[in-house]
Symmetry: D2
Subunit: 344 residues, 4 copies
């Protein structure tokens, strides 16, 4: 049984970690920390947890967290980089759900996140926690940077095409739409119901923090430079990301598109390639760890359209983090993650 | 042409005043004030106003506001009571959309709003701006306290029954449901989309500020004490209040129930009594100044059910305020308020 | 391992049965029938099931269903009553999620459902599947009538008060609000998104089919006649019922109210009584089998308010059906039903 | 005062025509026809109209409609083409809100709509009712084909770029998202709340009827062939279309992009070009006749992003139809269309 610590349990990725871990047969939550809510029962903030969990927020400390096998950081960016090194040094394996350990390019990172990185050495050894491309490295990783939600959807949707060289890597467009929970649980005028409900908009058009993360990973997959236009939009739904992806085919190879996906994700337990003519909706993965993908080549075989969906709090955050934990500790990769999408 | 001033134009009642006044043939917005947004174009916050209005927020001052015929306070409670006396003294007529001038009972008011009232003299002469019961007084009023949104829906739904003595005034229940815009435009964790969307709850069960307001008005109508249980709920919709009202009939007078409503609201331009067997939904009044009411007596004629709906930002706030303005200045009461509900 | 049959798998209670059973360690879906979709893959209608289930709809027949240990009818009312007797005769235990076996009062049933009952003998032995009041009978039942969603929420909310004689049983009011999935998966103008979204209304005010069901059960609990006003409303949410219940206290026994709930539901695995001052929202039970209840006595101790929530597709339908199955077959009552509410 | 007839008033474009015309000072609804609802009061279906309108559906007939100045067809496609010729022959001017008179290319039309066109002669003289490109022709038109909702948003967003030759006309992508009311008021499993609410998906990926309409119009503007990928998505909102448009710049002319829009739409009363860095949301045009457009050139000046929004029932249907009526009869083009967007 793994002893799990969670740093920062008052946000949506935190409560989702708790929900998912409560169904995991080989993991037990040893401690949940929160500076602001120390002493409060976790289920007072999230009554959905009542009746199954009896946990109280404690102040974070190396003494307590150091006794865990694995610690998840469900905090805003900038927190994990301050505490991860100490934990790793004591032998605790760390999975950061924020952005501190996702990118290798420090210049880009510091530009987008507006702070200096304080764990540069650890960053070097950190592994990007996308099992579908990094499974072997994740097994041995002491520190995993869990991918962003947009990033996961877009990277999985483009990976087979870039890996196989089927598309012009300079022509990528990701028109992505996210539910509001992706913005976190925070007091922010822009995400109150009356601003978002029965409404729809694009945002972040001057640049979004996931853009350099995605480019860095796709460049690695393609082995060449990437030209990516990325337009995030805000959906009036709680959970779910749907990314509509466009790329020009570099050769008129309509038939190879589908087979590139089937080959790339063969045996992947959480990527589901839909049959020809079918495209996924966000609810089909609500609460589940699946990424579902549909695709279509244009009639003239000049371009390809890919639709990729996931639950931003599961495969886009906490579910993927647990998937990484399973890999790191040699457990069945799907353990605790077998829940199906909640429909409707 | 009336010169209109608006104090506090950055909230939802403010932008709704502007929207409605832009269609009013006899009113012109002379000035909009905001301490926090001084110098900013109003349409930068509310792009829906672009192309029809060219207004910039100014700092509130008696010099500017004193030149208006009428000033609306679309501010939180506690603001109008500090500035209204000066305006009234210079001959400006004032309509407060917040709670400062709604209740005569200072003890209750100060208990519920947690501050001392700073305009007690003005409060004495203030008129409660519910035209259906106070039209004559509103005509002459220098200062009007515009009713709360829940209060308007519930008072109009109970008024005929209490006025006619048909119901036991100690048995009233108001099970009321409101859209989120009733909570205002503010940073508040409880009203972010992810907390409210695809969700429903009761709230304010230890007491809601509209309760004493409603009781005070209903007591005046009934001429006797009132026993009212009031349960507000939060709906995942933008606009709209639906109040489901229950009362025990004091006499088995099923037929008189409907006629009491028809008589009470005869010639009322904004109260619509639906035919037998029909009940209103919130969208039927979306964006309009109507209050629509349906009712049904129980089979055994022991009790009555009333369903009352309105748009909390129109008949529940800014529309009613303009209706009051029309009355105060001898204009056609419906002027500028003829828009029909936006369906769907 | 139980062999489970599902009759009618194309609706929301059907797909929810499948989702929940896929996590049940001691049950295996042997067959899913649908007359209209024979031969189609279940996951073609519900892609959320892809990757974990490989089932195809078959035509219903006694040959196939007769080999199951238990058969769920996730059909409209009127279907189970035609097929249940044959199944029971072959030793299959039957759980009907529709209304055919809920009520003993045939006159009421035939009036409300508009058809003649065709399994009167079986109806006599049928057990109403509300474990919190009928657990012992359910253990031995050959045929269970699974309660309605509104009925479950309202009955659990009133049961302790009526059982203990604390309230005037003639004064009950249930102001209930349901998500749209309660109306089923069918082509109906009244439930298309554009009629329901950003909207709210009461409906069924001339009478709702769950009313006589609730009255029959509550009468049994109270041991006396029941006066119940029941007002259903339609919420723009997918899942969830919230019932706001009112009753007059028969004695001014404020303290005994809470203890009556705690005693009545002591050791109940799926009823969660919230602490004083807390009230549940629908999302706290989204996807879970819990019914959560909060309550408050009025200041003058004359009346009590109860708020009861559940997921209409889980504790209000498919989850409760599986809970009944667990009881009938001597399994741990919570088996396969440990999922926590999906928040947000 | 214009006498207006409406054929088919039971759908959303019908009720929206009525709502808008009720505020039009120079138009009066003379008759509303419906075969299915003959004799029923219009406000029984749409209670939002109560109190301002007293109209009853009549059976459509040339006798009645022939006395109107203008007749709107708010019917499904295939109806107007059967009745328009007779009306035009009697001197009535006709505006069809469906698709019968939008396209000149009969082959494409008959392929996509699956029926033979029965008014080919009239089609030849029909004018596509997009005032921003066809104003002069609309003035004299006897028959106007009112543009589709997607088509209006996308055509207005691409028109300046194509007209000025700034973009590669073979590289167009329209990633468009529509509220559910665009699908009409009909019994259809795919648009019930439980299928659409808290959900998001792409649809129509094998081809959408608006695609050939858009291509035909854009080809006319560009004077050359068009390559357009068009991906419609279904938003869980009532009203609103947001089209995210992508195109490659044919020359690195970043500064000319904005000026091309400002020039193209100079003096247009209903197209609002937002300032640099601002992008519209759907609610900013809810209930109004505006199309609002924001744009951005990529950093390397290789491509342009345009965001175009409108209310599918107003500028995308009934509002644009009235705008066309105003033009046809020499009225102020904005008459009756001055309502601002309903926010929130």
């Amino acid at each position: 049984m793994l002893n799990v610590g969670i740093v920062g349990g008052t946000g949506y990725t935190g409560v989702e970690l708790i929900r998912l871990l409560s169904m995991h047969p080989q993991a037990s939550i040893a401690t949940i920390t929160s500076r602001t809510e120390e002493g409060m029962s976790v289920s007072e903030i999230f009554p959905s947890l009542r009746g199954r969990l009896d946990l109280t927020f404690v102040k974070p400390s190396i003494d307590i967290l150091g006794q865990c096998d694995v610690v998840f950081f469900a905090t805003p960016h900038g927190v994990a980089m301050q505490q991860a090194q100490d934990l790793v040094d004591t032998g605790v394996r760390v999975i950061d759900l924020a952005a501190d350990f996702r990118m290798k390019d420090l210049t880009h990172w510091e530009k987008w996140y507006g702070i200096d990185h304080q764990a540069r050495q650890l960053l070097e050894e950190a592994v990007y926690g996308l099992p579908e491309i990094n499974r072997e490295k994740i097994k041995e990783a002491r520190i995993v940077g869990n991918p962003g939600c947009y990033a996961t959807a877009i990277e999985l949707g483009f990976a087979p095409l870039l890996s196989s060289g089927l598309v012009d890597s300079s022509s990528l467009i990701a028109d992505a739409k996210s539910g509001v929970s992706g913005a976190g649980r925070k007091e922010d005028l822009g995400i109150i119901y009356s601003e978002v409900g029965d409404n729809f908009k694009a945002y972040g058009l001057r640049g979004h923090r996931h853009h350099p993360e995605i480019v860095e990973i796709l460049r690695g997959i393609a082995g060449t430079d990437i030209g990516l236009r990325f337009t995030p939009h805000l959906l009036p739904i709680n959970r779910g990301i749907l990314a509509t992806l466009y790329a020009n085919l570099s050769v008129p190879a309509a038939h190879e598109v589908r087979s590139s996906f089937e080959a790339f994700f063969e045996n992947e337990p959480f990527v589901d390639i839909l049959p020809e003519g079918q495209f996924p909706d966000t609810r089909s993965v609500r609460g589940s760890n699946f990424c579902k993908i549909g695709m279509q080549v244009s009639e003239d075989a000049s371009s390809v359209l890919v639709v990729s969906v996931l639950d931003n709090l599961v495969k886009g955050a906490s579910g993927q983090a647990i998937q990484n934990m399973n890999i790191m500790f040699g457990l069945d990769e799907t353990m605790g993650l077998n829940g199906l999408g909640l429909v409707p």
